[in-house]
């Protein structure tokens, strides 16, 4: 039950109109129904969807869509714009208190990822040259304190605990004193997961808040949350007046509609998102990109940014030269693979491409180990073979296969792949590298540039 992208659905809705000329209000209503279903499938709360559809419909009724030659695109554009507007248009940071330490309190339901995120956040501050202190106030879940101590240790961030105490107000007070004495400029307080309807436990958070007055109260929300996200966010916000949200487990394949729900009911910004199990996997949240993800349009911006970071400018120019003169060889092929590798795991890159949906990815088998195999094969070639001076005869293929621990069939496969790539690059030559990346984004991964299937 993989999701069809909204773009696809709208295209097919409007396809029916071909030859009919203008778009009627009825057509628009059908389109709005598709938008509604897409948002609901993405787990945006029903009420939030209703409000959203109302405001989008109003705008879409204007001349922009009705008279457009490309109504589907117009609708997507409007929906996207309105979503971005709803999500907040810019990235938001943690407020650093003018009087250190800046106190950050992590709150949320059980299993949202508070402890891991607290450590990750500490890691970000440490990298900025600050001196964070983690404070363990989850005194209920077995081994929660131990967990914070271990992840803190891995990041070399001190963790404040009070052995045997269950008085979290006292623990946080002591932690604050400790931070002041040891000139820690950031204090991150990890609290126990709790249900928003558990009055006693919510009171505990209010008590901590009253005692140490945190500069940031962050609500940690699992990106996979469904309709209930509104109840959770609303309760925490009402009780604690939160300052922001961290969305976790966004490295999964959820659409993450909870992001919209939470934002809509609290009007508080999402500041970070958890992107993996490694302690460095916490990223600044980009509202515009999230809008695209929820709509199933891929994360083109992120991809372009990643590509820009990873692509070595100089090498790109060289490569371009080669393409122009059509001397693209195996060494270049290998280099390109290495550049791609710098962009991150293939599965992650592919996910960001529009038009590449979960369904396609299931069979794509984007295994990074296969990239290693490609490297092994090319590295087992002689310089002559790599630079296309020597023809790769069957005998040579056997040698290459042996040298790289692969089979002749796999070597053949790679050669075929290379030749296709060569052909394709010839078509590309003439454009500059930047444009190429953009075109790559527009097309999705071209079929013959995919990774060798063995």
């Amino acid at each position: 039950m993989a999701f069809e992208s909204l773009a696809e659905k709208l295209q097919s809705t409007f396809k029916k109109l071909k030859g009919k000329g203008k778009v009627s209000e009825k057509d628009l209503k059908d389109a709005m129904r598709e938008v509604k279903l897409a948002l609901l499938e993405a787990d945006v709360n029903f009420k939030v969807v209703k409000d959203f559809i109302n405001s989008v419909s109003e705008r879409a009724k204007g001349a922009e869509v009705l008279e457009s030659l490309t109504p589907a695109q117009q609708v997507i554009k409007i929906v996207n714009e309105e979503l971005v507007k709803l999500m907040g248009e810019k990235e938001e940071k943690i407020q650093i208190s003018s009087k250190p330490p800046t106190i950050i309190m992590m709150t949320g339901l059980q299993g949202a990822g508070k402890t891991t995120t607290a450590a990750k956040l500490g890691g970000i501050f440490k990298k900025q040259g600050k001196r964070p202190l983690l404070c363990a106030c989850d005194v209920y879940r077995p081994a929660a304190i131990k967990q914070l101590q271990v992840v803190g240790g891995q990041l070399q961030i001190p963790v404040f605990t009070v052995e045997g105490s269950t008085d979290v107000v006292d623990i946080s007070k002591q932690a604050l004193r400790h931070a002041e004495l040891h000139s820690n400029d950031i204090l991150i307080i990890d609290t126990a997961g709790r249900l928003h309807v558990d009055e006693e436990m919510m009171q505990e958070l209010k008590n901590i808040k009253a005692e140490i007055n945190p500069s940031e109260i962050l609500l940690v929300v699992d990106a996979m949350t469904g309709q209930d996200a509104v109840n959770v966010a609303e309760s925490f916000n009402n009780e604690l007046d939160i300052d922001g949200v961290i969305l976790t487990k966004l490295d999964g394949d959820t659409r993450g509609g909870a992001a919209i729900s939470v934002r809509a009911v609290t009007n508080k910004p999402i500041k970070f998102c958890g992107m993996g199990e490694k302690l460095t996997d916490l990223e600044v949240f980009h509202p515009d990109r999230m809008a695209s993800r929820i709509l199933g349009m891929g994360d083109v911006l992120s991809l372009i940014e990643k590509a820009e970071q990873a692509f070595d400018e100089k090498k790109a120019v060289e490569l371009e030269q080669k393409m122009r003169t059509q001397t693209f060889n195996y060494s270049d092929f290998l280099e390109q693979f290495e550049q791609m590798k710098n962009m991150g795991p293939l599965s992650q890159i592919a996910k960001m491409l529009p038009g590449v949906d979960a369904r396609a990815l299931e069979n794509a088998d984007l295994d990074d180990r296969k990239v290693l195999r490609v490297e092994a094969i090319i590295k087992s070639m002689t310089p002559g073979e790599r630079e296309l001076r020597d023809k790769i005869t069957p005998k040579r293929k056997e040698r290459i296969a042996k040298g790289s621990g692969t089979t002749v069939a796999q070597v053949n496969n790679l050669i075929k792949q290379f030749e296709q790539m060569q052909k394709m690059l010839k078509q590309f030559s003439g454009m500059n590298m930047n444009k190429k990346m953009k075109r790559l984004g527009k097309m999705g991964i071209p079929k013959n540039m995919g990774f060798p299937k063995f």
Partner: protein
């Protein structure tokens, strides 16, 4: 307190939010018309049942109402109740199999759904029945996971087989299998690390663990329980699909039903993959894990305040 009332107590908040809506919907209608169906569909969607499954359910309801010529909104509710129960029970059994020595129960799921806690509760339950239980601490990845399971083993009075954090989970399972065999333990409960279902390598690891259990204990029943957080939305369907590919899921443990989340996604999963719910978690206490009873579950969701 009987099991029935315990479930109801756990589900009371679930019930309230669903109910208030349902009742106000029912009361607002004097006749059965298109608007009623639409409103009911909305109620289903709001409980995370999902757009497609909700539409299907309403379609079935509409057929029944037509063939039975139902005119009363209240009767429509009863029909809805029956349809929902049917979906959950059709052709499946929610009993946990415990054949062989040891019988195997493996617990899997994404991060933070409550796997370790559920295992602790399951272990306590079997110990109470006088069975010997061995826990395998195969979540060697998350910091503190082994210690967390140790606390539960201690509470339940079960044996635990563990290695260092970061060691090979398959090796832990292998050790635990041998230990359980030698001790002639009744139940072998395997904890695994939380993993997102779209991480290929981690799913391969899970396959490997499952294979070991399958190979080493060919005569034992193997329950593979997917733990789902009731707050999860549509993504749970993908979880069920991909975890099923790695290990043959035999049932679902639906946790955190003591909040306001409704866990409606289990209807979609049952509908699509025929995986039944076997246990539900309704609190943090060691006894807060219940056998799943579809009647009670739907009852508690649909029952009006007065009858509760």
């Amino acid at each position: 307190m009987g099991i029935f009332s315990k479930i109801k107590e756990g589900l009371s908040k679930t019930k309230n939010s669903f109910n208030e809506k349902l009742d106000s919907v029912i009361k607002a209608f004097r006749t059965v018309d298109e608007d009623l169906f639409e409103e009911l569909e909305e109620v289903l969607i709001m409980s995370d049942i999902g757009v497609n499954t909700s539409m299907e359910i309403i379609e079935r309801l509409r057929d029944t109402v037509l063939t039975k010529n139902i005119k009363e909104p209240e009767t429509v509710k009863n029909e809805l109740h029956e349809i929902l129960v049917n979906i959950l029970t059709e052709g499946t059994d929610s009993k946990i199999e415990t054949q062989g020595t040891p019988a195997v129960i493996m617990v899997i799921g994404v991060n933070g759904v409550g796997k370790t806690t559920s295992i602790g509760k399951i272990a306590a339950n079997y110990k109470k029945q006088g069975k010997s239980v061995v826990l395998a601490a195969a979540d060697t990845f998350r910091a503190g996971a082994i210690e967390q399971l140790e606390v539960w083993a201690d509470r339940a009075g079960a044996d635990i087989i563990k290695q260092q954090e970061g060691s090979d989970p398959a090796a832990v399972i292998f050790d635990a299998v041998n230990y359980a065999k030698n001790k002639k333990a009744d139940i072998l409960l395997c904890d695994t690390a939380g993993r997102l279902h779209n991480k290929k390598n981690l799913m391969e690891e899970l396959k490997k663990i499952y294979k070991i259990l399958d190979r080493e204990l060919p005569n034992s029943s193997k329950e593979v329980l997917l733990v789902l957080d009731a707050t999860t939305g549509q993504n749970a369907v993908m979880q069920a699909k991909l975890f099923k590919e790695a290990a043959d899921i035999t049932g679902i443990v639906l946790t955190k039903l003591d909040g306001t989340a409704k866990g409606g996604i289990v209807f979609a999963i049952k509908n699509e993959y025929d995986i039944p719910v076997k246990l539900i978690g309704v609190g943090e206490g060691i006894d807060d894990l219940m056998e799943f009873e579809a009647e009670d579950f739907v009852d508690a969701i649909l029952e009006t305040e007065e009858n509760a």
